[in-house]
């Protein structure tokens, strides 16, 4: 009995010290960014584990690719060729419009950028934490990624980079409960903010005034305010409008355009800062 209590006394001080240390580490991590290097260091140490964990899914994809029959490949090839033709045709039109747009903007004297560079990156793993919506990418600061970059897939905005290590990076999806993205309605031009709520197929738009001009099916694009996300990328479309008569507000639910839970290849946007959009 005495032995037990003696032992307890010996442990109390180190335990208290470590508890205080944990709490202060948490506070520093929450409020400031001094611990980014610690996080990055640990991240590098465990990066082989991330590869290990993503191995079963990746090898599955590789095997199914390998065993695809010749006919299917030919079919797929033909389809892709057709798609390419259609897209090329559209692109021609786009280029004319782009040139015209550039000319008009130049006439107006505005120097807004039209095209952004992108870095193609692959999904390494999805963070297995039920509270958060984070994913890991296989590119890091060595490839030119940095904190705060916007990430998109071929359908819309996915999220933003929040931690980078030399060879991997963490992306917070727009559906993370801590995430908010400045958006604009294409139809009415109304600007607002869309919040994540923790499920991959929903964004929330809160506290719109009761007279706001919105309807189901409205498309939302990034507004470019706040400087994080470049303007005019598709974000979501409205699927439900909730009237709150007692408070005089309306709120809405939107479905993200990006395939947050199934995209494997993503694009990280590298904005061309302050480059006047002239010759293309």
């Amino acid at each position: 009995m005495q032995n037990i209590f003696q032992q307890a006394r010996g442990n109390v001080l180190p335990a208290l010290f470590l508890i205080v240390l944990s709490v202060s580490v948490m506070v520093v991590d929450h409020r400031y960014s001094h611990l980014e290097s610690v996080r990055a260091g640990i991240s590098i140490v465990i990066s082989p584990l991330r590869y290990l964990v993503s191995l079963p899914a990746q090898s599955g994809a590789w095997v199914s690719e390998w065993f695809r029959t010749h006919n299917r490949l030919v079919d797929e090839n033909r389809e892709l060729r057709n798609d390419e033709r259609i897209l090329n045709a559209r692109l021609q039109k786009m280029e004319v419009l782009l040139a015209e747009n550039t000319r008009l903007r130049n006439l107006l004297g505005s120097s807004r950028k039209l095209a952004d560079d992108v870095i193609v990156s692959e999904l390494l793993s999805v963070d297995q934490n039920p509270y958060r919506q984070l994913i890991e990418l296989n590119k890091g600061s060595l490839d030119g990624l940095y904190d705060g970059q916007a990430v998109i897939d071929d359908y819309g905005v996915m999220g933003q980079v929040i931690h980078v290590t030399p060879n991997s990076s963490t992306v917070m999806l727009i559906s993370d409960p801590e995430h908010a993205i400045p958006v604009q309605f294409i139809r009415s031009g109304l600007r607002t903010v869309a919040f994540g709520n923790g499920s991959t197929d929903q964004l929330e738009i809160r506290f719109l005034s009761a007279t706001a001009n919105i309807q189901v099916g409205d498309e939302l694009v990034t507004s470019g305010l706040g400087g994080r996300f470049p303007p005019d990328y598709p974000v979501a479309s409205i699927v439900e409008i909730k009237q709150d008569k007692t408070h005089g507000f309306i709120s809405a639910l939107a479905r993200p355009k990006a395939r947050l839970d199934s995209s494997r290849e993503v694009l990280v946007i590298k904005p061309r800062v302050n480059k006047p959009a002239v010759e293309q």
Binding site: N11, P14, A15, L21, S22, V53, D127, N129, R132, P177
Partner: protein, 159 residues
Amino acid sequence: MMGFSFLVIPLSLVLGLVLMMAPLPEWALIYRPDWVALILIYWSMAMPNRVGLWSAFITGLFVDVTQGTLLGQHSLALVIIVFINLNFHLRIRVMSLGRQALYVLVLLLINQFTVVWIEGVLEREPPVLAFFAAPFIGMALWPWIFIALRDIRRKAQLR
């Protein structure tokens, strides 16, 4: 021989980390038992001189990075349960597996409560009752983890 057998403890914790990172369907995430906590409870009970508060703290930082939580969040929870465990390990070691499992359940609940409480402080998501299912699953796993790790410990001649 000695040099190699020391690696058994960190390797088992790495295995725990891998099990916590392995992909699961979204609905099942919430039921994933805290493997790292279970393995840490075993080692701090069996070898309190080797695995103590600092091991818990550092392991916690690794869990925080893999889970995307605040640095220190899992450290705090693990330090608390390892502290409790260090003070009771002599009594717990001689208990039957069934009673040990009940004791482990209490530790896992404290662990889970700490993590969920910090999420609550950060106003991330209202805790749902299902969060407290994971410790019960951990309790059910305890006898197997105990026997497996005990055999490993004996093979490696750690004491």
